[in-house]
């Protein structure tokens, strides 16, 4: 009684439905399109929105990269990759440049993306107004009427309380000057990468059953008051202790013996790339 599994897990009807939703999302940048959202073999909240997008889009020629909080080898990234590969047999890669499809949780890769690539982001809470309004019925109307005072008010309150905006990741953005969108919990550092990105960015929220998109070359601006400009995370004068990069998002690590903090690229494949090219230069230099 063993069932034959379909290519990319889903039956074709399900895939078509997700693709139709995706097309609508691309046509209305930043608008959260509801979809039925199938239950997946990985848990709700573990990237099922992104996974459904990936599985509905992937073809045999695709090359897939999956990252979780910057790392290709994070257990959940591995688990997702495994599922996609088992049901499709596609090629996997850690190299951002080689991938045609990149599924990511909470990071946009450091290497700029191209027109040939699609970035799929996993979204836990797609509604940027949820903190001011619990009801889905109401937030839907607020989007329709372009009423975003609530999102601004959240930032205003932070400034009143803390003297600056204190958003962590998931700082809200305006897409194409119309919809306010949760960029998924990417750090503020990554928000500017969405602006006029060459790649198509798709965002999938499986549990909340929404798909939304930022098409290539679309304006994406982070919400900021005129006298309190948007700022990204800073790492002072720190650099990656491995590759020396200082213009990337860094992980803070603690040296167990000294108790001191040291820093390392969060984007692991970017870091390894840099190390390899540095070594290449050294070798050539040595031989020269």
């Amino acid at each position: 009684m063993k069932n034959k599994t379909h290519f990319a897990f889903f039956d074709e009807g399900s895939k078509k439905e997700i693709r139709r939703t995706t097309l609508k999302a691309v046509a209305i940048p930043g608008y959260q399109v509801p979809f039925a959202s199938r239950e997946m073999p990985i848990a709700r909240g573990w990237g099922t929105g992104g996974l459904q997008l990936t599985l509905s889009l992937i073809g045999k020629e695709d090359c897939l990269k999956v990252i979780d909080q910057g790392a290709d080898e994070s257990v959940n990234a591995v688990s997702i990759k495994k599922l996609v590969q088992q049901t499709t047999g596609v090629e996997l890669t850690d190299q951002t440049e080689d991938a045609s499809l990149i599924q990511s949780r909470h990071r946009i890769p450091e290497v700029p993306l191209t027109e040939e690539q699609i970035l799929v982001l996993q979204v836990p809470t797609p509604e940027p107004l949820r903190d001011v309004e619990a009801s889905e019925y109401v937030t839907k109307r607020l989007h329709a009427e372009e009423e975003y005072s609530g999102a601004w008010l959240l930032l205003f309150e932070q400034i009143m309380k803390y003297g600056k905006t204190a958003t962590g990741a998931d700082h809200p953005v305006y897409v194409n000057g119309r919809y306010v969108m949760a960029p998924s919990p990417i750090p503020r550092f990554d928000n500017p990468k969405m602006h006029t990105s060459k790649a198509l960015t798709l965002l999938g929220a499986g549990r909340e059953k929404k798909i939304y998109a930022v098409p290539p070359y679309t304006d994406v601006t982070s919400l900021a008051f005129e006298d309190y400009p948007f700022t990204v995370e800073t790492f002072a004068d720190q650099a990656c202790h491995l590759c020396g990069a200082n213009d990337v998002f860094l992980d803070e690590l603690v040296d167990e013996t000294t108790g001191k903090a040291y820093y390392q690229c969060n984007d692991t494949s970017y870091c390894i790339d840099r190390l390899n090219s540095q070594e290449q230069v050294e070798v050539e230099h040595h031989h020269a």
Binding site: N3, T5, H6, F9, F10, D11, E12, G13, E17, A36, E39, P41, A43, R44, G45, W46, T48, D68, Q69, G70, D72, E73, S74, V75, N76, A77, V78, H106, R107, P124, A134, S135, E136, Y137, G163, K164, T165, A166, G168, A169, D170, P185, I186, P187, F189, R207, K209, K210, E233, T234, F249, D251, E252, N266, T268, S269, I272, L275, N276, E279
Partner: protein, 372 residues
Amino acid sequence: MGYVAVKGGTKAIEASIERLTYDRLQESEVIEVKTIMATMRALVDQVMSESSLYSPFLAALAIKQAEGSMEEAVFIMRAHRSTLPRLHYSNIVESESMLVERRISASFKDIPGGQILGSTTDYTHRLLDFSLASETKLENDQWMKNYVDKLEQAVSPQDEVLFFPKVVDYLRQEGLFGGHELDDTPPTDITKENLSFPASRSARLQTLTRGQTGAVTALGYASLRGYGQVHPTVGEVRVGMLPIYVGHPNEPEQTEEDSYYIGEIKVSEVESFVPVSVKNEQNEAELDFEIGYGVCYGQNETKAIAMSILDQCLEHPEASFPTHDEEFVLLHIDSVEATGFISHLKLPHYVTFQSKLNSVREVKRKGESNEE
């Protein structure tokens, strides 16, 4: 030479899965799927109900694979459900056609057709039965033989199948309940469409019937206890088999003869009577009854009753209790969604936490420089 990514994640997962298998096999006992089907009916029923996939075999297999974890078994079933193309909708099922195994009313002692206690744990004493620790197949077979003999002497077979009228129909004839016109609007299919608000009653009932048993029971209980305005009397609980038919896929004109019998499902069905205050023609307040409806796969009467309470709650959104708020109830009772999102907190949040940390530090730094 060159640097390569440490394959830590891949190795860790492989080792973890091996360990999981080891934990399942280490006592070298094998439980057969058919054993689970035969002896854990309640568990199988609950898994089928929460996963909204009626297949005792698959449910038992999922239970075996999940080593008895409810949330895990439901999860596996739901994921499997996503791989199945959905080709047909069944014909409308009239629950009068149920082959009743059990049927009770808390509202009337004498209901037309009579009460049938059937098989229930309700009146067992919940004492641990230590004899079960050493039961033998031989003893059990003997018990079975005696029971069947007893039945054969006491009961004579009838030629006709007995169907039972619904208690509520009897009350309708009395004029205590208003009648409703048949409404054959095709129901919303919440597995193909996103639940949108305000939700149709069909969408609400579907969400409730696949809700996590514990969650549905807890919210129904909350309403009963005071965080809600529904206190029902159970009009009828019935458990039994319902025959399922599908129409001919290619015949535009459907007659009953064109339908195909595809099997039967066991369900628990509840109709609760809920007193409500309505205005009469003189605009005076008057008491009337409304019906709360609950139904779920298998024998799970508590869930079906709790569902009937919540159905009525959601019919009256004007009451200011969370149990009457459809977004509150419907968006939080699904097993796969709730357990998934709670468990996702185990995933690394390094980047998000680093980002928040950065903000907190900035705020603190600013605070310090202000003090200087």
